[in-house]
């Protein structure tokens, strides 16, 4: 990892410390600064309220010229999070072809909070869950809440 990338990550972490984003907690390890662990609370107004989701943010060597890679370590029933052991997300500014170097991790975290409140059904990584979200909202909410209870307490 280049000195520039390290400097940039350090700077972003300092910004997060000075102005902590609400509803989340960042675990930062200076020995391994390219891997952040973030604990995100399910937003109050969302079906994920009450849940606590562990996220991992991995910074590529080319950061900030390539986007960070975000994955849910806590299982979540959500159209935009892959329903496997990776829990990966790839949409919006996280996509390689939409990422802009001035974007910051905080913006990524805010995007995730927004997605917890309102999933993006057009850009789903789990089409079946997206379909359920679209066609059978009740069933979707039931499953999502069920998973919160099961995995995210």
């Amino acid at each position: 990892m280049s000195a520039g990338a390290k400097k940039r990550i350090m700077k972003e972490y300092t910004e997060c410390m000075n102005d902590p984003p609400t509803g989340m907690k960042i675990n930062f390890n200076e020995q391994n600064m390219t891997k952040w662990e973030v604990l995100v609370d399910g937003p109050e107004q969302s079906i994920y309220a009450g849940g606590h989701f562990k996220l991992e943010i991995n910074f590529p060597n080319e950061y900030p010229f390539k986007p960070p890679v975000v994955s849910f370590k806590t299982k979540i029933y959500h159209p935009n999070v892959s329903n496997d052991d990776k829990g990966s997300m790839c949409l919006g500014l996280l996509r390689a072809d939409e990422w802009k170097p001035p974007n910051k991790v905080v913006a990524v975290l805010r995007l995730i909070q927004t997605l917890l409140i309102e999933p993006n059904q057009d850009d789903a990584i789990e089409p079946s869950i997206a379909n359920e979200y679209k066609e059978n909202r009740k069933e979707f909410e039931k499953n999502a809440k069920d998973w919160v209870k099961r995995y995210a307490k």
Binding site: F65, N83, D97, W99, P101, I125, P127
Partner: protein, 477 residues
Amino acid sequence: MADAGYVLPDEELAQLQKLSSDFEPETTGPLVGERQSSAAITTEYANADPVYRVKTAALPSKYAYFRTCRGDGHCGWRAIAFTYLEALVREANVGKFEEEEARLMSINNLFNNVGINYELIIDFAEEMFDLLHKLAHSVSSNDGNADAILLQAFNDMGTSLSIITYIKFLASAWVQAHPADFEAFITTGDVKTYCSLSIEPSQCELDYVAVGALSAALIKPAGFAFEIMYLDRSAGEEVNATVFSQPTDQNGMLLPNPPTIRLLYRPGHYDILYKAEDFPPPVQQQPIQVALANPYNDSFIPSESSVDIMAMIPGMYSTSFGHRWPSVPYEFDASPTPQAQVTPVQPYTPTPASAAPVNTSRQDYMPVHASHQPNHSNTGRHGLHLEGPPVTLPIHSLPPPPVSIERGHLTLERGGPFRPSMYELEQINVPSFQTSIFKNSQYNTAHYMNPDFQPEAWSPDTEYGAGHKGKHKPPAQ
């Protein structure tokens, strides 16, 4: 979860989609390469289709050098940023660096005016200004390191991409501040959306709008001209030049002979082109001189007497192109074989393998008897009579040039990103060279018969003594 039989294909699709969106073409070579003879481009296309062959063959005579940019999707941006800074270095004027820094600083207001938070791009802008300072310092101390500093900075991925990011946002801000100039080229969405999707992202290639924006924001105000040479399959026998910037003075008059930034565009990729006069003569291209000089040492020593003989041949120099002829005879007459190949009909009968338009376009040869050596009646470089050889005089097959020319030529490609060519592969197989088209192509400046046969620093005057200056006359257009 819905039923698994339905889900699986979707998941596979999603996986495939992810694979395809994560795909990156394999890229090699330096981010910005060393300056090299553009004959390497001719070599690269020696086996391409005729349009490319003709166009690339004509290239080295006009644009003597080029520089590669790695084809990683950033090449166009990188080429512009690099050439802009390189043009400043070539100006060798510290005052100009200061002017440009002040000017770029003043443009920074533009960012906030169009709603781009300058704070967010300040890190990238600082890389640009740092490099400007380093270059200015090197130029002011006249330590001769500026070129190396520039090349090194651009081959550092972080620095290079930071500067690219800076000029991307500069382009974006410029487009948003001058929407009227660009709206016509933006087919989808408004100007802001366009910039957000097609200029600002990390992975987006330089497009026409951005070229226009950078030309107006970065290049023209610096007093540089800007041209892009398009090498594609369109009609024509040369690359098509499009002028993007013609700098003017305060009174709106065109500046005479401004420093010029030239890019070579091949569909999907940008490299950098130079004219020979962009660089003062003493270029450090030692390897090329050595490599090309060696093969000629024995057989290419001109003799004054043979020059005289040439001059006595009626009609030999009667045409206008006679003047441009290198009067240096390349001694092939030692071998009687070419004489035996006299063919009165088609000059230059190509072997089947070499039936190439590049050759046929050269048929306007001055016919010359083989015993009188150089029948380099090379007219304009662009095949004036594609199908019309001079009808009356017999023409000989060209004597095969020494294989060592090819070897010499290969050295031109040192370190370049080019695939190994057939010449490399067949290098050991000497006989195969005898029928290769390429060595017969006078479009190749490494070819002994090319009127512009002068890998930059090759000087007949020093090599063969005075009196052969005709070689350097600019070819008639």
